[in-house]
């Protein structure tokens, strides 16, 4: 049990197996999507057993996914009690807003003199897509994500996006509420164009200003929604908890 033991080597070629299609990953992505799209509304009870049965797997991958979501703050786990989709906590939303603003503005300061042509082209196509008539809300969100991510890559900080994504879960849910409410993402698309053109023109100050305005507009939207639908937000006014959230697995 000593001499012949296989000692795994830390080899770089292992990096190939990055995209593992394990069932944990599938469950995690499914649950995360359902939480962010509000298909699993804030406050909903998540039973490991129910989820496992519904998804056709055992408790293990479900449980591990919940733990990951819990670390992201999208789910809260109370031992021996239950797991729940987190309420939208205004404090956490504000934190996500702060963090996102800090990162995205700082990135604009690091823009290189010579912009990557491929990325610029990608951004251009993205913006064109955003103004396509009849664009669905989910599509817009996808484009919005890609736009901000590409902007970060433009300054060489693309991998910082992952951290932003993880932190802005609460913000995303709140934004989604806001956009479902207003149903007018066209204003945001225009702001995207404004930012992009400032970046292209090399006007860092203008880009910063436009970006800040854009991000703040999103945040203000959240505050407006909160005034209208306080039941989805965490308690800070002594609101009564929702008694039951019906979850339908299609």
């Amino acid at each position: 049990m000593d001499g012949k033991a296989r000692v795994p080597r830390y080899d770089e070629r292992m990096a190939r197996s990055n995209r593992q299609r394990t069932s944990r990953r599938a469950v995690y992505e499914t649950l995360r999507r359902k939480v962010l799209t509000l298909e699993l509304p804030p406050g909903a009870a998540l039973s490991e057993n129910e989820l496992a049965a519904a998804l056709g797997v055992s408790r293990t991958p479900v449980r591990e996914s919940l733990i990951l979501l819990s670390q992201e703050g999208l789910v809260q786990i109370f031992p021996q009690v239950g797991s729940f989709v987190s309420r939208v906590d205004p404090a956490k939303v504000a934190d996500a807003q702060f963090l996102r603003e800090a990162v995205e503005l700082a990135a604009l300061d690091d823009l290189p003199a010579e912009l990557d042509a491929d990325l610029v082209e990608e951004l251009r196509r993205n913006l064109a897509e955003q103004e396509r008539p009849g664009l669905g809300l989910e599509d817009f969100f996808e484009l919005d994500e890609a736009f901000h991510h590409a902007l970060l890559r433009l300054s060489g900080h693309g991998s910082a996006w992952a951290t932003v994504v993880s932190a802005k879960g609460h913000l995303d849910r709140a934004r989604r509420l806001g956009l479902y409410d207003t149903a007018t993402p066209t204003g945001f698309a225009a702001q995207h164009v404004e930012i992009f053109e400032a970046v292209l023109g090399g006007d860092a100050a203008l880009a910063r200003s436009a970006m800040r305005t854009h991000l703040r507009a999103v945040f203000d939207d959240v505050e407006r929604v909160r005034a209208r639908s306080p039941e989805l937000f965490a308690k800070d006014t002594g609101s009564v908890p929702v008694r039951r959230n019906v979850v339908v697995w299609e």
Copy 2:
């Protein structure tokens, strides 16, 4: 199985059970500490079975802890192959540096006109501790963490610290290498004082400048260490992987 089913309610009083002392949490904290202190060096093989036996628990909490550490980027899991302590990836170190700088500088812009007296006092005591003679390196790191965290709280963004902490794992390990190398954290303590006094004086620009200098100094230290001990860093110069790292569980 329907009418009498217990439906857990999302109740705020559940928040009391925040500090659960489950064995998963214990294992997670132990492993994280060992990774960050380099007691588990970058590249070390982590066998779920060995860890479980060594820590006196089953594979389950060990496995869940590794998954969490994996999401933080401190551990890499390769299915059917093995789990390893991540090498210090220069790109990730740079990302953490960028994110930290962005957040901490942005926080300085949000300092209120009237500083919280308790926090100021806490910072003052912290700085005094930092200059205590015979201070151990671990103690200094603890004080350093507390200092930066308190500064964030001073601007009302204390909870953003958690995100920074999670993201800067790689940076921490690299910093630790640097400080073990130089063994002169006194310079950093002086920079802390400089930042603090600028904050007290209400000179935001000076505070920003001092903070940037401070954080950059830390980062430069990392680069210096990397030139000296490349084997702990991820490949980018075709370095040969370490074959074996002996792990002693006291």
